[in-house]
């Protein structure tokens, strides 16, 4: 691990001021991903700015929305009563991720900034455009069973590892950030990037910008929702495919549908095509399957992950059927 200077930020302004002037800075939350990457010499910050003393408050608002401080631990979010009652898909997504020990350490802000678990990204001897731009991608022709089927590029086929972020995508969360230029708010769908020819750029954050909070708008509060994760073992594994889904049925028809996929793309994948195909339609297995087909029409398999396309379709249809109370 490269040497670094450690600073514990007393407040947001101090953290940002330090990040703006210090050499090769990196904010530190719970460290569950960053410390590991530093030990592997994949991340080499010279200045560590510990932001875990900043806001970890979870504020349930009367209108139904919830504001979550970026320092809130994953466990604290998943066990919060208002989140369990208003946004069950978010609680379930968090609980589907990592282990209890890691959820006790990991912060909400850090969860958004997790790096991919692509083997070639983690292997300093492999070619990786994300780790070292312009060096190529060994995953495209390599072991790519866990890699992307949607939105990938010839430069990068990595997937985003988060479960929590899949739910946040479906819930239209808002990411509040603060930087040297002031404060701004980003819709969740605009926070993470697709790889294109710059897979090293993963988010819309500018230099020294810090995530301060994640807001759950009232819009999806109280919808029937859930999160289903398919993985190689029953617990403590990353998703091959996951589905965050919410719906509201009126007179047998889908008045509202929210759908996002994990494990399939460089970012949490909001399934807008499937949502549009379902809106106003009668709830039922045929409609769910057709919507899943429409969403996955754009999928492009690699040599080892074609199974994910059918797996995603079936998981979408099964999750929506479960929510609708229909036969799968």
């Amino acid at each position: 691990m490269q040497r670094f200077e450690y600073h514990r930020a007393a407040d947001t302004a101090a953290a940002i001021a330090l990040a703006a002037r210090a050499p090769e800075p990196h904010y530190l939350g719970g460290g569950t991903n960053l410390v590991d990457l530093m030990r592997e010499n994949i991340e080499r910050p010279r200045t560590i700015i510990d932001v875990t003393a900043l806001s970890s408050a979870i504020e349930a608002r009367p209108d139904g929305g919830i504001l979550i401080g970026a320092g809130a631990k994953n466990t604290a979010v998943a066990e919060h009563r208002a989140i369990r009652e208003r946004f069950p898909m978010l609680a379930r997504a968090i609980l589907a991720g990592a282990s209890a020990q890691i959820r006790n350490m990991a912060t909400v802000g850090g969860n958004l900034l997790q790096r991919t678990r692509c083997y070639y990204f983690y292997d300093d001897a492999a070619h990786c455009n994300k780790r070292k731009p312009g060096t190529g991608c060994d995953a495209v022709e390599g072991f790519n069973r866990i890699h992307a089927i949607l939105g990938a590029s010839p430069s990068c086929v990595a997937t985003h590892p988060s479960d929590m972020c899949v739910a946040l995508a479906a819930l239209d969360a808002i990411v509040h950030v603060e930087g040297p230029g002031g404060r701004r708010s980003l819709p969740f769908g605009a926070f993470h990037r697709l790889p294109g020819d710059r897979p090293d750029l993963e988010t819309a954050l500018g230099p020294a910008e810090l995530i301060t909070a994640v807001e759950l708008p009232a819009g999806a509060a109280g919808l029937r929702s859930t999160y289903r994760k398919v993985r190689d073992r029953a617990s403590y594994a990353f998703a091959l495919v996951s589905v965050a889904a919410a719906l509201r049925i009126e007179d047998g028809k889908l008045a509202e549908v929210r759908l996002a996929l994990g494990g399939v793309a460089h970012k949490p994948w909001r399934a807008a095509t499937a949502e549009a195909a379902l809106r106003g339609k009668p709830a039922g297995a045929d409609a769910f399957r057709a919507a899943a087909e429409a969403e996955l029409a754009a999928a492009r398999p690699l040599s080892g992950n074609a199974f994910k396309i059918e797996l995603a379709k079936r998981t979408i249809a099964a999750t929506l059927s479960e929510l609708a109370g229909a036969r799968p």
């Binding site: 530190l28 410390v35 466990t75 609680a91 403590y236």
Partner: protein, 168 residues
């Protein structure tokens, strides 16, 4: 830097890159906490911080100054076993024993989570305030601790017995 470990205060100076796991094992000779994978995948390094279980291998020690850290040495002694240690012996909850300190610290933290109503991904009703820790719940909640000897069934039996006695 000042650390509170198993109720005792320690003033320690160390390389800032040191993990909490290495601080315990290499600087304080508290070798009950084990290093398995050193990357957060096995749970052998599980300790309690303010009563919550964490992976000491992923924790930079500097972040845990002033927090109440409990290791296996703080839970029981050879002459005075913690109830979980005694139950692990009774139920063959180990073979080689390498994962055992982490398993036991994890189970202590898990019980505290269950008492305050933290759900798991296999909890059917997330809104429930009381959670029955059946076999599936325990397997899920202990999934962050691997046992390569395959003593998981004994581990679950030991944990169930202690939880049942506490509830009685």
């Amino acid at each position: 830097m000042r650390f509170s470990i198993n109720g005792a205060d320690h003033e320690i100076d160390f390389d800032i890159r040191t993990s909490l796991l290495d601080l315990l094992r290499e600087h304080l000779q508290l070798t009950g906490t084990k290093k398995g994978c050193d990357q957060g995948a096995c749970g052998a390094c599980t300790v309690l911080v303010d009563g919550e279980r964490i992976n000491a291998c992923l924790a930079l020690a500097v972040q845990y100054q002033g927090r109440a850290i409990t290791t296996i040495e703080g839970l029981g002694t050879p002459g005075h076993l913690h109830a979980l240690q005694a139950a692990f012996v009774e139920h063959d909850g180990f073979q080689c024993g390498y994962c055992t300190p982490g398993q036991i610290c994890s189970a202590v933290g898990m019980a505290a989570e269950a008492r305050r109503g933290v759900p798991s991904v296999v909890t059917a009703d997330l809104a429930a305030t009381q959670i029955a820790l059946d076999h599936d719940e325990l397997r899920e909640r202990m999934s962050g601790n691997l046992c390569r000897c395959g003593a998981h069934n004994g581990i679950i039996d030991a944990v169930r017995q202690v939880l049942a006695r506490e509830a009685a």
